[in-house]
Protein backbone atom coordinates (compact mmCIF):
# COMPACT_ATOMS: atom_id res chain seq x y z
CA UNK A 1 0.00 0.00 0.00
CA UNK A 2 1.40 3.39 -0.92
CA UNK A 3 2.00 5.88 1.83
CA UNK A 4 -0.52 8.63 2.46
CA UNK A 5 0.40 11.79 0.61
CA UNK A 6 -1.25 14.91 1.92
CA UNK A 7 0.16 17.40 -0.55
CA UNK A 8 0.59 17.00 -4.30
CA UNK A 9 4.23 18.06 -4.04
CA UNK A 10 5.14 15.01 -1.94
CA UNK A 11 6.92 12.14 -3.68
CA UNK A 12 6.72 9.46 -1.01
CA UNK A 13 5.90 6.17 -2.64
CA UNK A 14 5.69 7.66 -6.14
CA UNK A 15 7.09 5.01 -8.49
CA UNK A 16 10.24 5.97 -10.37
CA UNK A 17 11.01 9.06 -8.31
CA UNK A 18 14.24 9.27 -6.37
CA UNK A 19 13.97 10.61 -2.86
CA UNK A 20 17.37 11.56 -1.51
CA UNK A 21 17.78 11.59 2.24
CA UNK A 22 20.49 11.89 4.83
CA UNK A 23 20.78 9.77 7.93
CA UNK A 24 22.93 11.26 10.67
CA UNK A 25 24.08 8.65 13.16
CA UNK A 26 24.81 10.73 16.23
CA UNK A 27 26.47 7.80 17.97
CA UNK A 28 29.29 8.27 15.47
CA UNK A 29 29.50 12.07 15.43
CA UNK A 30 32.64 13.35 17.17
CA UNK A 31 31.93 17.04 16.63
CA UNK A 32 35.02 17.67 14.50
CA UNK A 33 33.09 20.22 12.40
CA UNK A 34 34.75 18.92 9.24
CA UNK A 35 31.31 18.88 7.60
CA UNK A 36 30.92 22.60 8.28
CA UNK A 37 34.34 23.30 6.83
CA UNK A 38 33.75 21.10 3.77
CA UNK A 39 30.45 22.88 3.13
CA UNK A 40 32.06 26.29 3.52
CA UNK A 41 34.79 25.30 1.08
CA UNK A 42 32.41 23.74 -1.44
CA UNK A 43 30.15 26.77 -1.67
CA UNK A 44 32.25 29.70 -0.46
CA UNK A 45 29.72 30.14 2.34
CA UNK A 46 30.42 33.57 3.87
CA UNK A 47 31.45 34.24 7.46
CA UNK A 48 28.55 34.36 9.90
CA UNK A 49 26.15 32.15 7.95
CA UNK A 50 26.01 28.38 7.57
CA UNK A 51 24.44 25.83 5.27
CA UNK A 52 25.23 23.19 7.84
CA UNK A 53 26.22 23.66 11.44
CA UNK A 54 26.93 21.44 14.42
CA UNK A 55 25.62 22.79 17.70
CA UNK A 56 26.35 20.87 20.87
CA UNK A 57 25.25 20.74 24.45
CA UNK A 58 26.96 19.09 27.40
CA UNK A 59 24.43 16.81 29.06
CA UNK A 60 24.51 14.59 32.13
CA UNK A 61 26.08 15.00 35.53
CA UNK A 62 29.77 14.73 36.34
CA UNK A 63 31.43 12.26 35.93
CA UNK A 64 28.86 10.92 33.45
CA UNK A 65 28.79 13.81 31.01
CA UNK A 66 29.01 13.96 27.26
CA UNK A 67 28.69 16.43 24.46
CA UNK A 68 25.58 15.83 22.40
CA UNK A 69 26.00 17.04 18.86
CA UNK A 70 23.20 17.66 16.44
CA UNK A 71 24.41 18.46 12.94
CA UNK A 72 21.85 20.66 11.25
CA UNK A 73 21.10 21.48 7.63
CA UNK A 74 18.15 22.00 5.33
CA UNK A 75 15.80 19.05 5.79
CA UNK A 76 14.78 19.00 2.12
CA UNK A 77 11.24 18.43 3.26
CA UNK A 78 8.89 16.34 1.18
CA UNK A 79 6.31 19.08 1.71
CA UNK A 80 8.49 22.18 2.04
CA UNK A 81 6.83 25.28 3.56
CA UNK A 82 9.47 27.51 1.92
CA UNK A 83 8.31 26.49 -1.56
CA UNK A 84 4.74 27.36 -0.67
CA UNK A 85 5.79 30.70 0.81
CA UNK A 86 7.91 32.10 -2.05
CA UNK A 87 5.84 34.66 -3.98
CA UNK A 88 7.88 34.40 -7.18
CA UNK A 89 8.72 30.71 -7.36
CA UNK A 90 12.40 31.33 -6.60
CA UNK A 91 12.37 28.30 -4.34
CA UNK A 92 11.37 25.01 -5.86
CA UNK A 93 11.53 21.30 -5.30
CA UNK A 94 13.18 19.00 -7.82
CA UNK A 95 10.55 16.33 -8.28
CA UNK A 96 12.99 13.55 -9.06
CA UNK A 97 15.34 13.59 -6.09
CA UNK A 98 13.49 15.85 -3.70
CA UNK A 99 16.16 18.57 -3.60
CA UNK A 100 14.76 21.91 -2.44
CA UNK A 101 16.72 24.50 -4.40
CA UNK A 102 16.93 28.24 -4.89
CA UNK A 103 16.89 30.28 -8.09
CA UNK A 104 19.27 33.07 -7.11
CA UNK A 105 18.52 35.17 -10.17
CA UNK A 106 14.85 35.21 -9.29
CA UNK A 107 14.99 35.68 -5.50
CA UNK A 108 13.67 39.12 -4.51
CA UNK A 109 14.85 38.86 -0.91
CA UNK A 110 11.45 39.12 0.76
CA UNK A 111 12.55 36.50 3.33
CA UNK A 112 9.18 34.75 3.25
CA UNK A 113 11.00 31.43 2.90
CA UNK A 114 13.17 32.23 5.92
CA UNK A 115 10.04 32.99 7.93
CA UNK A 116 8.41 29.79 6.69
CA UNK A 117 11.28 27.39 7.44
CA UNK A 118 10.74 25.58 10.76
CA UNK A 119 14.45 24.65 10.85
CA UNK A 120 16.19 28.01 10.44
CA UNK A 121 17.96 26.48 7.48
CA UNK A 122 17.83 29.59 5.30
CA UNK A 123 19.90 32.72 5.52
CA UNK A 124 20.53 35.95 3.66
CA UNK A 125 23.81 36.21 1.79
CA UNK A 126 25.77 39.34 2.72
CA UNK A 127 26.41 42.28 0.39
CA UNK A 128 30.06 41.48 -0.13
CA UNK A 129 31.69 38.15 -0.92
CA UNK A 130 35.27 37.49 -1.88
CA UNK A 131 35.01 34.94 -4.68
CA UNK A 132 31.35 34.66 -5.59
CA UNK A 133 29.11 37.34 -7.01
CA UNK A 134 25.84 35.88 -5.70
CA UNK A 135 24.90 38.36 -2.97
CA UNK A 136 21.88 39.68 -1.10
CA UNK A 137 19.64 36.71 -1.89
CA UNK A 138 18.50 33.86 0.30
CA UNK A 139 20.71 30.78 0.33
CA UNK A 140 20.54 27.34 1.83
CA UNK A 141 21.91 23.80 1.68
CA UNK A 142 21.31 22.13 -1.68
CA UNK A 143 22.10 18.57 -0.60
CA UNK A 144 25.04 19.20 -2.96
CA UNK A 145 22.73 18.81 -5.97
CA UNK A 146 25.66 19.49 -8.33
CA UNK A 147 27.66 16.61 -6.84
CA UNK A 148 24.80 14.14 -6.39
CA UNK A 149 23.69 14.48 -10.02
CA UNK A 150 27.22 13.44 -10.98
CA UNK A 151 27.16 10.34 -8.83
CA UNK A 152 29.00 11.83 -5.85
CA UNK A 153 27.78 12.25 -2.30
CA UNK A 154 27.43 15.70 -0.66
CA UNK A 155 30.64 17.35 0.51
CA UNK A 156 29.72 16.99 4.19
CA UNK A 157 29.07 13.26 3.73
CA UNK A 158 32.28 12.81 1.78
CA UNK A 159 34.35 14.42 4.51
CA UNK A 160 32.65 12.96 7.60
CA UNK A 161 35.47 11.19 9.41
CA UNK A 162 33.22 9.02 11.56
CA UNK A 163 30.80 8.10 8.72
CA UNK A 164 28.14 9.73 10.81
CA UNK A 165 26.46 11.21 7.76
CA UNK A 166 25.06 8.72 5.29
CA UNK A 167 23.37 9.80 2.08
CA UNK A 168 21.27 7.94 -0.44
CA UNK A 169 17.96 7.33 -2.16
CA UNK A 170 15.15 6.39 0.20
CA UNK A 171 13.12 5.06 -2.71
CA UNK A 172 15.83 2.48 -3.40
CA UNK A 173 15.22 -0.40 -0.98
CA UNK A 174 18.83 -1.53 -1.41
CA UNK A 175 20.33 1.82 -0.32
CA UNK A 176 22.05 2.21 3.03
CA UNK A 177 19.72 5.03 4.09
CA UNK A 178 16.67 2.82 3.40
CA UNK A 179 18.22 0.06 5.46
CA UNK A 180 19.03 2.38 8.36
CA UNK A 181 15.64 4.11 8.37
CA UNK A 182 13.76 0.82 8.18
CA UNK A 183 15.80 -1.07 10.77
CA UNK A 184 16.82 1.50 13.39
CA UNK A 185 14.79 3.95 15.46
CA UNK A 186 15.20 7.36 13.84
CA UNK A 187 14.00 10.85 14.65
CA UNK A 188 13.27 13.86 12.52
CA UNK A 189 13.15 17.47 13.70
CA UNK A 190 9.74 18.94 14.44
CA UNK A 191 7.68 16.11 12.94
CA UNK A 192 4.52 17.83 14.18
CA UNK A 193 4.87 20.47 11.46
CA UNK A 194 4.00 17.97 8.73
CA UNK A 195 7.00 18.88 6.60
CA UNK A 196 8.16 15.26 6.25
CA UNK A 197 11.88 16.00 6.55
CA UNK A 198 14.49 14.03 4.63
CA UNK A 199 17.11 14.27 7.34
CA UNK A 200 16.88 11.47 9.87
CA UNK A 201 18.78 11.25 13.14
CA UNK A 202 19.84 8.15 15.03
CA UNK A 203 20.29 8.67 18.76
CA UNK A 204 19.34 12.36 18.94
CA UNK A 205 19.08 13.94 22.37
CA UNK A 206 15.85 15.69 23.24
CA UNK A 207 17.78 18.59 24.76
CA UNK A 208 18.67 19.52 21.22
CA UNK A 209 15.77 18.27 19.14
CA UNK A 210 12.81 19.52 21.14
CA UNK A 211 11.62 22.93 20.14
CA UNK A 212 12.40 25.67 22.56
CA UNK A 213 14.27 23.71 25.22
CA UNK A 214 17.27 25.98 24.67
CA UNK A 215 15.27 28.93 25.92
CA UNK A 216 15.12 27.48 29.42
CA UNK A 217 18.29 28.02 31.42
CA UNK A 218 20.23 29.40 28.49
CA UNK A 219 23.86 29.88 29.60
CA UNK A 220 24.54 33.49 30.50
CA UNK A 221 27.61 33.72 28.28
CA UNK A 222 25.62 32.40 25.33
CA UNK A 223 22.92 35.00 25.90
CA UNK A 224 25.58 37.73 25.96
CA UNK A 225 26.87 36.42 22.61
CA UNK A 226 23.34 36.29 21.27
CA UNK A 227 22.70 39.89 22.31
CA UNK A 228 25.93 40.96 20.56
CA UNK A 229 24.92 39.01 17.44
CA UNK A 230 21.49 40.65 17.39
CA UNK A 231 23.05 44.09 17.75
CA UNK A 232 25.34 43.55 14.79
CA UNK A 233 23.23 41.55 12.39
CA UNK A 234 20.47 43.13 10.44
CA UNK A 235 19.23 41.61 7.24
Amino acid sequence: MSELRVSSIETRGVPGKKRYAMVIDLRRCIGCDACMVACKAEFDVPIGVFRTWVPYKVVGKYPNVRKMFLPRLCNHCDDPPCVRACPVGATYKVEDGGFVLQRYERCIGCKACMAACPYNARFMLPKHRTYTDITRVVDKCTFCHHRVTQGLVPACVQTCVGRSRIFGDLSDPASEVSYLVSTLPTQVLRPEEGTKPHVFYIGADRNRTEYGRDVYNAPEVLEADRAAFNRNHTI
Binding site: P87, V88, G109, K111, G194, G212, L222
Partner: protein, 285 residues
Amino acid sequence: MGEFTIFHTVAWPSTYAYYFFVIGISAALFFISGLSWFREEFKSLRTSSFYISFALLVVGGLLLISDLSQPMRFIYTLNPFYWNFTSPLTWGSILLVLFGAASVAYFLAMQKNDAALARKLAVVGSLLALGLPIYTGFDLAVHQHRAVWNTPLIPVLFVALSLISGAAVASFLAKGEARLLASLRQFMLVASAATAVMLLSLLVTTANGGSASELTFMFMTSGLLGAVFIGLGVVLGTAAPLVVLLVPFGKQSSGILLASVLLLVGGMALRYSILMGPQIVHTYF
Protein backbone atom coordinates in the same frame (compact mmCIF):
# COMPACT_ATOMS: atom_id res chain seq x y z
CA MET B 1 31.81 25.79 27.46
CA GLY B 2 28.70 23.75 28.03
CA GLU B 3 27.00 24.72 24.86
CA PHE B 4 27.61 25.94 21.34
CA THR B 5 25.18 27.01 18.70
CA ILE B 6 24.99 29.47 15.86
CA PHE B 7 22.57 32.36 16.04
CA HIS B 8 19.73 33.15 13.71
CA THR B 9 18.19 36.47 12.81
CA VAL B 10 14.47 37.14 12.69
CA ALA B 11 13.29 36.90 9.10
CA TRP B 12 10.86 39.80 9.06
CA PRO B 13 12.03 42.97 10.80
CA SER B 14 9.88 45.78 12.16
CA THR B 15 9.43 47.25 8.66
CA TYR B 16 6.63 44.75 8.17
CA ALA B 17 4.87 45.97 11.32
CA TYR B 18 4.99 49.54 9.97
CA TYR B 19 3.69 48.22 6.66
CA PHE B 20 0.80 46.41 8.35
CA PHE B 21 0.02 49.63 10.21
CA VAL B 22 -0.01 52.00 7.24
CA ILE B 23 -1.72 49.60 4.85
CA GLY B 24 -4.43 48.94 7.45
CA ILE B 25 -5.06 52.68 7.78
CA SER B 26 -4.99 53.12 4.01
CA ALA B 27 -7.60 50.38 3.49
CA ALA B 28 -9.92 51.70 6.19
CA LEU B 29 -9.66 55.31 4.98
CA PHE B 30 -10.61 54.25 1.47
CA PHE B 31 -13.60 52.41 2.94
CA ILE B 32 -14.58 55.57 4.85
CA SER B 33 -14.21 57.67 1.72
CA GLY B 34 -16.36 55.18 -0.18
CA LEU B 35 -18.90 55.14 2.61
CA SER B 36 -19.44 58.85 2.09
CA TRP B 37 -21.46 58.03 -1.06
CA PHE B 38 -23.91 56.04 1.02
CA ARG B 39 -23.90 57.81 4.41
CA GLU B 40 -24.39 61.57 4.49
CA GLU B 41 -22.39 62.24 7.66
CA PHE B 42 -19.16 60.93 6.08
CA LYS B 43 -19.36 63.34 3.13
CA SER B 44 -16.85 65.80 4.56
CA LEU B 45 -14.25 63.01 4.69
CA ARG B 46 -14.67 61.94 1.08
CA THR B 47 -11.60 63.61 -0.39
CA SER B 48 -9.38 64.07 2.66
CA SER B 49 -9.56 60.42 3.71
CA PHE B 50 -9.04 59.30 0.11
CA TYR B 51 -5.89 61.42 -0.28
CA ILE B 52 -4.40 60.08 2.93
CA SER B 53 -5.39 56.54 1.96
CA PHE B 54 -3.58 56.88 -1.36
CA ALA B 55 -0.52 58.50 0.21
CA LEU B 56 -0.31 55.67 2.75
CA LEU B 57 -0.72 53.10 -0.01
CA VAL B 58 2.36 54.59 -1.68
CA VAL B 59 4.22 54.66 1.64
CA GLY B 60 3.24 51.02 2.29
CA GLY B 61 4.45 49.95 -1.15
CA LEU B 62 7.74 51.76 -0.63
CA LEU B 63 8.18 50.15 2.79
CA LEU B 64 7.70 46.71 1.26
CA ILE B 65 10.11 47.42 -1.57
CA SER B 66 12.72 48.95 0.73
CA ASP B 67 12.73 45.82 2.87
CA LEU B 68 13.56 43.57 -0.09
CA SER B 69 17.23 42.71 -0.29
CA GLN B 70 16.86 43.08 -4.08
CA PRO B 71 14.52 46.09 -4.25
CA MET B 72 14.50 46.40 -8.03
CA ARG B 73 13.23 42.86 -8.33
CA PHE B 74 9.89 43.86 -6.80
CA ILE B 75 8.72 43.88 -10.41
CA TYR B 76 8.99 40.07 -10.41
CA THR B 77 6.00 39.94 -8.06
CA LEU B 78 3.93 41.36 -10.91
CA ASN B 79 5.10 38.81 -13.47
CA PRO B 80 2.23 36.32 -14.00
CA PHE B 81 4.74 33.64 -15.02
CA TYR B 82 6.35 33.86 -11.58
CA TRP B 83 3.16 33.99 -9.51
CA ASN B 84 2.87 31.32 -6.86
CA PHE B 85 -0.68 31.26 -5.56
CA THR B 86 0.16 29.22 -2.49
CA SER B 87 1.94 32.32 -1.18
CA PRO B 88 -0.17 35.09 0.36
CA LEU B 89 2.56 37.52 -0.74
CA THR B 90 1.47 36.84 -4.32
CA TRP B 91 -2.15 37.59 -3.44
CA GLY B 92 -0.88 40.74 -1.75
CA SER B 93 1.10 42.01 -4.71
CA ILE B 94 -1.91 41.49 -6.99
CA LEU B 95 -4.28 43.09 -4.47
CA LEU B 96 -2.01 46.11 -3.98
CA VAL B 97 -1.89 46.74 -7.73
CA LEU B 98 -5.64 46.28 -8.14
CA PHE B 99 -6.35 48.50 -5.13
CA GLY B 100 -3.99 51.15 -6.51
CA ALA B 101 -5.71 50.99 -9.90
CA ALA B 102 -9.16 51.19 -8.26
CA SER B 103 -7.98 54.18 -6.22
CA VAL B 104 -6.79 56.02 -9.33
CA ALA B 105 -10.04 55.25 -11.18
CA TYR B 106 -12.03 56.38 -8.13
CA PHE B 107 -10.05 59.62 -8.01
CA LEU B 108 -10.70 60.28 -11.70
CA ALA B 109 -14.41 59.57 -11.28
CA MET B 110 -14.53 62.04 -8.39
CA GLN B 111 -12.69 64.64 -10.46
CA LYS B 112 -15.25 64.26 -13.25
CA ASN B 113 -18.10 64.47 -10.74
CA ASP B 114 -19.40 61.17 -12.07
CA ALA B 115 -21.28 60.13 -8.96
CA ALA B 116 -22.69 56.88 -10.37
CA LEU B 117 -19.25 55.61 -11.42
CA ALA B 118 -17.63 56.83 -8.21
CA ARG B 119 -20.19 54.91 -6.15
CA LYS B 120 -19.47 51.72 -8.08
CA LEU B 121 -15.72 52.22 -7.75
CA ALA B 122 -16.15 52.96 -4.05
CA VAL B 123 -17.73 49.52 -3.61
CA VAL B 124 -15.12 47.74 -5.72
CA GLY B 125 -12.27 49.62 -4.03
CA SER B 126 -13.66 48.91 -0.57
CA LEU B 127 -13.81 45.19 -1.31
CA LEU B 128 -10.20 45.29 -2.51
CA ALA B 129 -9.31 47.35 0.57
CA LEU B 130 -10.87 44.66 2.76
CA GLY B 131 -8.50 42.20 1.10
CA LEU B 132 -5.43 44.12 2.30
CA PRO B 133 -5.67 43.43 6.05
CA ILE B 134 -6.97 39.94 5.28
CA TYR B 135 -3.98 39.07 3.11
CA THR B 136 -1.50 40.57 5.58
CA GLY B 137 -3.13 38.38 8.23
CA PHE B 138 -2.67 35.35 6.02
CA ASP B 139 0.96 36.36 5.43
CA LEU B 140 1.44 35.39 9.06
CA ALA B 141 -1.27 32.77 9.48
CA VAL B 142 0.07 30.34 6.87
CA HIS B 143 3.26 29.66 8.82
CA GLN B 144 2.34 26.34 10.39
CA HIS B 145 5.19 26.33 12.89
CA ARG B 146 4.59 29.75 14.45
CA ALA B 147 2.45 30.03 17.53
CA VAL B 148 0.14 33.09 17.55
CA TRP B 149 0.56 33.57 13.78
CA ASN B 150 -0.89 30.22 12.81
CA THR B 151 -4.41 30.87 14.06
CA PRO B 152 -7.60 31.64 12.14
CA LEU B 153 -7.93 34.78 14.28
CA ILE B 154 -5.07 36.74 12.74
CA PRO B 155 -6.71 37.80 9.43
CA VAL B 156 -9.88 38.79 11.32
CA LEU B 157 -7.86 40.59 13.98
CA PHE B 158 -6.03 42.54 11.27
CA VAL B 159 -9.36 43.59 9.73
CA ALA B 160 -10.51 44.87 13.12
CA LEU B 161 -7.17 46.65 13.71
CA SER B 162 -7.40 48.20 10.25
CA LEU B 163 -10.88 49.56 10.94
CA ILE B 164 -9.80 50.90 14.34
CA SER B 165 -6.68 52.66 13.02
CA GLY B 166 -8.52 54.08 10.00
CA ALA B 167 -11.40 55.39 12.11
CA ALA B 168 -8.89 56.87 14.57
CA VAL B 169 -7.12 58.80 11.80
CA ALA B 170 -10.49 59.83 10.34
CA SER B 171 -11.57 61.27 13.70
CA PHE B 172 -8.73 63.80 13.39
CA LEU B 173 -9.98 64.74 9.93
CA ALA B 174 -13.55 65.15 11.17
CA LYS B 175 -12.88 68.67 12.51
CA GLY B 176 -15.27 68.22 15.42
CA GLU B 177 -18.41 67.36 13.39
CA ALA B 178 -20.63 65.79 16.03
CA ARG B 179 -22.58 63.33 13.84
CA LEU B 180 -19.48 62.15 12.06
CA LEU B 181 -17.55 61.73 15.29
CA ALA B 182 -20.45 59.73 16.75
CA SER B 183 -20.33 57.33 13.79
CA LEU B 184 -16.55 57.00 14.02
CA ARG B 185 -16.90 56.39 17.75
CA GLN B 186 -19.28 53.53 16.93
CA PHE B 187 -16.72 52.04 14.53
CA MET B 188 -13.93 52.29 17.07
CA LEU B 189 -16.09 50.94 19.87
CA VAL B 190 -17.30 47.87 17.98
CA ALA B 191 -13.93 47.09 16.39
CA SER B 192 -11.93 47.55 19.59
CA ALA B 193 -14.44 45.43 21.55
CA ALA B 194 -14.00 42.71 18.91
CA THR B 195 -10.21 43.17 19.15
CA ALA B 196 -10.35 42.82 22.94
CA VAL B 197 -12.27 39.54 22.63
CA MET B 198 -9.83 38.26 20.00
CA LEU B 199 -6.79 39.24 22.08
CA LEU B 200 -8.24 37.50 25.11
CA SER B 201 -8.86 34.40 23.03
CA LEU B 202 -5.36 34.60 21.57
CA LEU B 203 -3.76 34.98 24.99
CA VAL B 204 -5.68 32.11 26.55
CA THR B 205 -5.09 29.68 23.68
CA THR B 206 -1.42 30.65 23.45
CA ALA B 207 -0.87 30.25 27.18
CA ASN B 208 -2.42 26.79 27.02
CA GLY B 209 -0.78 25.64 23.79
CA GLY B 210 2.21 23.40 23.14
CA SER B 211 5.85 24.21 23.79
CA ALA B 212 6.06 26.78 20.97
CA SER B 213 2.91 28.53 22.19
CA GLU B 214 4.08 28.43 25.78
CA LEU B 215 7.40 30.07 24.90
CA THR B 216 5.78 32.62 22.62
CA PHE B 217 3.40 33.51 25.42
CA MET B 218 6.40 33.88 27.74
CA PHE B 219 8.20 36.23 25.35
CA MET B 220 5.11 38.26 24.56
CA THR B 221 4.09 38.80 28.15
CA SER B 222 7.45 39.48 29.80
CA GLY B 223 10.39 41.81 29.32
CA LEU B 224 10.47 44.58 26.76
CA LEU B 225 8.18 42.82 24.30
CA GLY B 226 5.76 42.19 27.15
CA ALA B 227 5.72 45.91 27.89
CA VAL B 228 4.94 46.61 24.23
CA PHE B 229 2.29 43.89 23.84
CA ILE B 230 0.56 43.93 27.20
CA GLY B 231 1.37 47.49 28.29
CA LEU B 232 0.95 49.45 25.08
CA GLY B 233 -1.09 47.02 22.99
CA VAL B 234 -3.60 45.45 25.35
CA VAL B 235 -3.90 47.84 28.32
CA LEU B 236 -3.15 51.29 26.91
CA GLY B 237 -4.13 50.60 23.31
CA THR B 238 -7.26 48.45 23.66
CA ALA B 239 -8.71 48.36 27.19
CA ALA B 240 -8.10 52.04 28.05
CA PRO B 241 -9.69 53.49 24.85
CA LEU B 242 -12.62 51.09 25.27
CA VAL B 243 -13.21 52.51 28.73
CA VAL B 244 -12.76 56.07 27.45
CA LEU B 245 -15.28 55.49 24.65
CA LEU B 246 -17.80 53.91 27.00
CA VAL B 247 -17.86 56.63 29.68
CA PRO B 248 -19.77 59.92 29.03
CA PHE B 249 -16.47 61.75 28.36
CA GLY B 250 -15.95 59.42 25.39
CA LYS B 251 -18.97 60.87 23.63
CA GLN B 252 -17.37 64.30 23.51
CA SER B 253 -15.01 65.33 20.77
CA SER B 254 -11.99 65.47 23.10
CA GLY B 255 -12.77 62.02 24.49
CA ILE B 256 -12.99 60.50 21.01
CA LEU B 257 -9.70 62.13 20.00
CA LEU B 258 -8.01 60.83 23.15
CA ALA B 259 -9.31 57.32 22.42
CA SER B 260 -8.07 57.69 18.82
CA VAL B 261 -4.54 58.47 19.96
CA LEU B 262 -4.56 55.50 22.31
CA LEU B 263 -5.95 53.21 19.62
CA LEU B 264 -3.28 54.27 17.14
CA VAL B 265 -0.54 53.59 19.69
CA GLY B 266 -2.15 50.26 20.53
CA GLY B 267 -2.62 49.29 16.88
CA MET B 268 1.06 49.81 16.15
CA ALA B 269 2.17 48.04 19.35
CA LEU B 270 -0.06 45.01 18.70
CA ARG B 271 1.11 44.62 15.13
CA TYR B 272 4.77 44.93 16.18
CA SER B 273 4.56 42.45 19.05
CA ILE B 274 2.50 39.93 17.08
CA LEU B 275 5.07 40.12 14.30
CA MET B 276 8.15 39.83 16.51
CA GLY B 277 7.09 37.50 19.36
CA PRO B 278 6.91 34.23 17.44
CA GLN B 279 10.05 35.11 15.50
CA ILE B 280 12.15 35.67 18.62
CA VAL B 281 11.20 32.23 19.94
CA HIS B 282 12.24 30.65 16.68
CA THR B 283 15.74 32.14 16.72
CA TYR B 284 16.48 29.76 19.60
CA PHE B 285 15.89 26.60 17.52
